[in-house]
Amino acid sequence: MTPHWLIAPVLVPAILGPLMILWMRHDLLQQRVFGVIGSLLTLIVAIKLNVTAAGGEVIVYRLGNWPAPFGIVLMLDKLAALMLLLTGILAVIVQLYGIGSGWDRKGWHFHSLWMFQLMGINGAFMTGDAFNLFVFFEILLIASYGLMTHGGGPMRLRAGVQYIGYNLAGSALFLAALGTLYAVTGTLNMADMAERVAMMEPQDTALLRTGAVLLMLVFAIKAAIVPLHFWLPSTYANAPGPVAALFAIMSKVGIYAIIRFFTLVFPSDSIVETIATDLLLPAALITLILGQLGVLGTRSLTRLAAFAAIASIGTLVISIARFDVQGLTAGLYYMLHSTLAAAALFLVVDLVAARRGGDFWLRQRPAIRNTGLVSALFFATAIAVVGLPPLSGFLGKLLIIRATATDPWMAVIWTVILVTSVISLVGFGRAGSILFWKAHELDPEPGNDTDEGQRPVRGPIPTKLESDEPIQDVDDSAAPWLAFLAVGGLLACSVAMTIFAGPLTGYLQHMAEQLTQPELYYDSVLRMQEGSR
């Protein structure tokens, strides 16, 4: 008996999204209520699914009850359940920030696009079918195009065009990879494909290898691994703060797909060997170096956050690229940490920029409103992102360093991780001192956004954007306390990950062991079909 709960993370947002457009398109309050309810529901279902998946089975949901290689399946293992949970936590917290900061009224359909985005992300984490993965990728990308350009403005739209162009090329590549793999294996079900790959003769694998490499390229585009990262900085830097924070999970979808495909379909002992994964480690090292240099070199606060996101991807992939239990455990821990930390960083950056009237350049300005609280949040987030104790970034890097201790590249990996940590420490220190310390050297000018008394007191904030209103303005913040609470919530998750690091890494180790036993997936998807529902 398969619980029908498995489809809920896709179905709930899929129903609520259109409902919001059709039924409550002019009522922001209703959209907010239903949006938060939708995200909360996916979070609750994710918690329940984690309890289900913790038993160690791979639970398969056969859509329409068609038997496996013919019908599409969703499959839930520990990794998928954990990713759903991470998405749920991030979605709820960041959505509250979007409401609290007033971003959700700066354009149309913020909350329904949010739902479609969740639907795509959740679906991509659960699907057991390669073509279905493409479809869910498209759903999450289409929603992300809308969210990324939310609020409009020339810079955001132009960055949006670049983002769409890059990702359309990526989607075309994805289709080419799937077509190649289908032509060789004759199936699109991941477990079935894995079994056929295992049965293939070595001399027939030229096309299969091409397909595997193409697939790796596609996922590297989504994950923004150098040299396929060029879409990320201007996209994340120009996206609205809460949207950029949600995008922190989107690049992890690429990482998830790499883990899924290259443990299940093309494990390192399969016929394609490590042709697609060999390049992952050097690429990850360069990604890390480039990201941290970007953190140090940039003159824009939003780009600083974007480059920090790139660097975290690099660190993560260094560990994942080993594809053994230890490497995966460390990588998964760092994935949880870096998603939450990157999201918190984007939100803090948005808090700062909103308080400077939308000025996100790193330069001396008079002290901002709530400067004490904002600078404390920036400090804590920087600690988490850079990887200093006591927050979870430190433990994550420590786990990765321990996991790579026996690697032949050990010296290079350790040097790069440690040196780039110092570089990013300097980068964040520079940003923080320009933003918060040097600010006190200037007197608040009258009429500046720091001066609370100067602005005329407005009535209740209208739910629609007036045409002459600035896009980013702290006075629009419907509930600043909610925005602060959201950032605090993300940091609290990081603290919790530090406190419960022992049990968490134990669980992640079980997860990594499950991932390295693909037979479990073959049996669950293809053989345990009788009376499946």
Partner: protein, 128 residues
């Protein structure tokens, strides 16, 4: 026939790649369309090229049929790429109207720090 289809796909793809590397959005949109054509044809061909065979089993004769799955896939791909072309056209139009030109590259404002606006830069009536 294989040679014809393969070279058609190759030519389409080459033209598409050349076009998406151009600096203006119009050429990039056209390039996207070309790439989509190439990929859709490629996807269609992954079920082997045959002539005059139905995509359904008839009398259990496995030789007299063509694989229906790529046709279903290509249908999905066509729908998605069609929608995406519309999205990219709308977005380019928005960027053109808001940004004033149709260049793909970000304008220099994206990298250069604009001068800080002080209270003296504001228009006359606001200063009063």
């Amino acid at each position: 026939m294989e040679l014809l289809v393969a070279s058609g796909i190759g030519a389409c793809m080459a033209a598409g790649i050349y076009l998406i590397l151009r600096l203006r959005t119009f050429a990039v949109v056209l390039g996207m369309t070309m790439i989509t054509y190439a990929i859709n044809t490629f996807l269609f061909a992954t079920g082997r090229l045959v002539v005059n065979l139905p995509p359904i089993l008839h009398d259990g004769d496995a030789a007299a049929y063509t694989d229906p799955l790529p046709q279903a896939l290509v249908l999905t791909a066509i729908v998605i790429s069609f929608g995406m072309t519309a999205v990219v056209v709308m977005m380019s139009l928005g960027a053109f109207i808001e940004g004033g030109d149709d260049h793909i590259n970000m304008p220099p404002d994206d990298r250069e720090m604009p001068p800080l606006k002080t209270i003296d830069d504001r228009p006359e009536e606001e200063r009063a």
